[in-house]
């Protein structure tokens, strides 16, 4: 199994970062997996890529993080130019049970799906 997508994991929990990364690599054959500890770091990463951005980026976004949480990141993401937005798919990944978080995620136009941790690889594969 191999995928051409590039992945960006945004999660403050190092264990979860590791788990998601390993799942992507082993189960999905992902090669290019980047990591960010919160929304601010993620925005910085995207800006740093500039022309280097891949054709297809999949962001796995946690909800609760310090400094800039998942939803604040979504707001910041809006400010990026259309090209970046077009080739990016955002999937939220959280262990939240808060119905407000789930509703908000499902209603957000840039969010494809909210998955419960750990990442269900097969379902992700069907989506991207």
């Amino acid at each position: 199994m191999k995928t051409d997508h590039k992945f960006l994991i945004i999660d403050d929990n190092e264990v979860d970062q590791l788990v998601t990364q390993q799942l992507l690599k082993k189960d999905l054959g992902a090669v290019d997996v980047a990591q960010a500890g919160n929304g601010i770091e993620a925005m910085q990463w995207i800006r740093d890529q500039k022309s280097n951005l891949p054709d297809s980026l999949v962001i796995l976004l946690d909800v609760r993080m310090p400094l800039m949480d998942g939803f604040q990141f979504l707001d910041a993401f809006e400010s990026l130019n259309e090209d970046v937005k077009k080739m990016t798919k955002i999937i939220m990944l959280s262990s939240t049970l808060d119905p407000r978080d789930i509703e908000q995620a499902e209603a957000h136009k840039n969010v494809i799906q909210l998955f419960s941790k750990p990442l269900p690889v097969k379902e992700l594969q069907a989506l991207i």
């Binding site: 403050d12 929990n13 190092e14 264990v15 979860d16 590791l18 788990v19 998601t20 390993q22 799942l23 082993k26 189960d27 500890g37 919160n38 609760r64 310090p66 400094l67 959280s94 262990s95 939240t96 049970l97 808060d98 407000r100 978080d101 419960s116 941790k117 750990p118 990442l119």
Partner: protein
């Protein structure tokens, strides 16, 4: 809270209720006395009409007697005049303070209804010196004098008739006098009812005004009271819904924090299952252990939180020196703890407070100080100081750890607030610490600089 409404203290509400009671009492008293006065006035006006009728019938009979000289008319005259004489007896009795039975007998002869007697007596006794009643009594007295004159004239005429001495001139003179009496009485009778009627109208007018004022007062106070109560209910409801929202938030945050380690464990198990490298698997197991440890800590914190909220304060003598020794001993196996020098400078160790709660506070601060030590520093220390100042027991716990950025100083005590760091706290520890300190009626603040270290300063009442 709305400042306008908070001015309605329980005392102000009592004032409102007091006004309602006062106005109601005034209404009852005023109405009661007005009814007494008006029924008295009505009784006197009734009595006057009987008096006037009696006198006029008597005069008619007397004139007929003079014409016919038939004693039947003279007897009728006497009978009718008894009405006026009866009233006269009542008046003289009331003025002289005679027994009520005398007065009642007089009024009965005056053809006043027995049910009216009380009102007649009450009005006379209580208002005899009030202008309208004074005037009415004066008129009544004058009328009684005229009646007396008429009676005397009748007796004189009767004697003359009996003796056959009544001349035509006498008769003409008597007729003129009798007509004069009747006219004089009619004038007084009119004024009598006029004075009493005017008094009744004045009383009614003021009664109406008082009723309106008191009713407005009652309506105003009752509305004010109702508004205050409605506002209080609204505030209570707002408080309740705020509490519910906070509770919801707490439940979701807590459940998230309880669930997050399970998700992590589940993920670790998943990747461990497909891993063949034993060393890698071992590193996953170590991560599982750390994750479980964190969850365990979180559950302990939740218990601390609820214990602080629910259990009552139990003050007894606490020795800070031994308390700190216990707390330090408990944390000696934490990662990095063996590397940190912990010093105590306790000048006044004895404190009257809740030992269990103080322990929760010290545990949280000491474990933070160890958890967030600065590995880059050669000599790592924690300095515990305790002394008395201005009636307060001050406890300072300083370290040269990683420190806290200025922008987080206010927030670190908030529920579920976590600073970005590599330790991933629950966001409950310092919240519980502050809550616990405030239940001990103390305060806590932090002085800290990023990378330099932190100093937590706790003030607890010494007594």
């Amino acid at each position: 809270m709305n400042p306008k409404i908070s001015s309605f203290t329980p005392r102000n509400v009592l004032v409102l209720i007091g006004v309602i009671f006062f106005a109601s009492a005034v209404l009852i008293v005023i109405n009661y006395y007005t009814i007494l006065i008006t029924s008295g006035v009505r009784a006197y006006i009734n009595g006057e009409s009987q008096y006037s009728k009696g006198q006029k019938d008597a005069s008619r009979n007397l004139l007929l007697y003079l014409d016919t000289r038939d004693t039947l008319y003279f007897n009728c005259f006497r009978k009718e005049l008894r009405v006026n004489i009866g009233d006269s007896i009542a008046r003289v009795g009331l003025s002289a303070g005679a027994d009520d039975s005398v007065v009642r007998a007089g009024f009965t002869a005056g053809r006043n209804h027995p049910d009216d007697h009380n009102a007649l007596i009450w009005l006379f006794k209580n208002f005899r010196n009030i202008s309208f009643m004074k005037r009415a009594i004066q008129l009544w007295k004058e009328a009684d004098y005229i009646i007396l004159q008429e009676y005397r004239l009748a007796e004189e005429a009767h004697h003359k008739i009996l003796r056959g001495q009544l001349t035509a001139a006498d008769k003409a003179q008597y007729v003129v006098k009798i007509t004069g009496f009747t006219t004089g009485l009619t004038i007084r009778e009119r004024e009598f009812t006029g004075v009493l009627g005017a008094a009744a109208r004045t009383v009614n007018y003021w009664l109406f005004i008082t009723n309106v004022i008191m009713t407005l007062l009652i309506i105003g106070s009752a509305s004010g009271y109702a508004l205050v109560m409605i506002q209080r209910l609204r505030e209570k409801n707002a408080d309740l819904s705020r509490t519910n929202t906070e509770l919801d938030k707490f439940v979701y945050s807590a459940s998230h924090d309880l669930r997050a380690p399970i998700s992590s464990l589940s993920g670790l198990i998943e990747i461990a299952m497909v891993e063949n490298d034993v060393n890698q698997i071992k590193s996953y197991l170590a991560l599982m252990k750390t994750t479980l440890g964190k969850q365990d800590e979180f559950i302990r914190e939740i218990i601390d939180f609820s214990r602080n909220k629910r259990t009552i304060i139990h003050r007894k003598e606490v020795n800070l020196d031994t308390l700190f020794d216990q707390v330090i001993a408990r944390h000696q196996y934490m990662p990095g703890a063996h590397d940190i020098i912990i010093r105590k400078e306790i000048t006044d160790p004895i404190l009257w407070s809740d030992g269990l709660r103080l322990e929760i506070v010290m545990n949280n601060i000491i474990s933070n100080a160890i958890k967030y030590h600065d590995r880059s520093k050669e000599e790592k220390y924690i300095l515990i100081k305790s002394y008395r100042k201005n009636g307060m027991h001050v406890i300072e716990i300083a370290d040269n750890g990683q420190g806290i950025r200025k922008e987080f100083h206010e927030k670190i005590f908030d529920m579920f607030f976590v600073t970005p760091n590599n330790q991933k706290g629950s966001g409950l520890g310092l919240y519980i610490t502050r809550e616990t300190v405030s239940r001990l009626k103390g305060s806590i603040r932090v002085e800290s600089e990023s990378r330099a270290g932190s100093n937590f300063i706790i003030n607890i009442p010494a007594v």
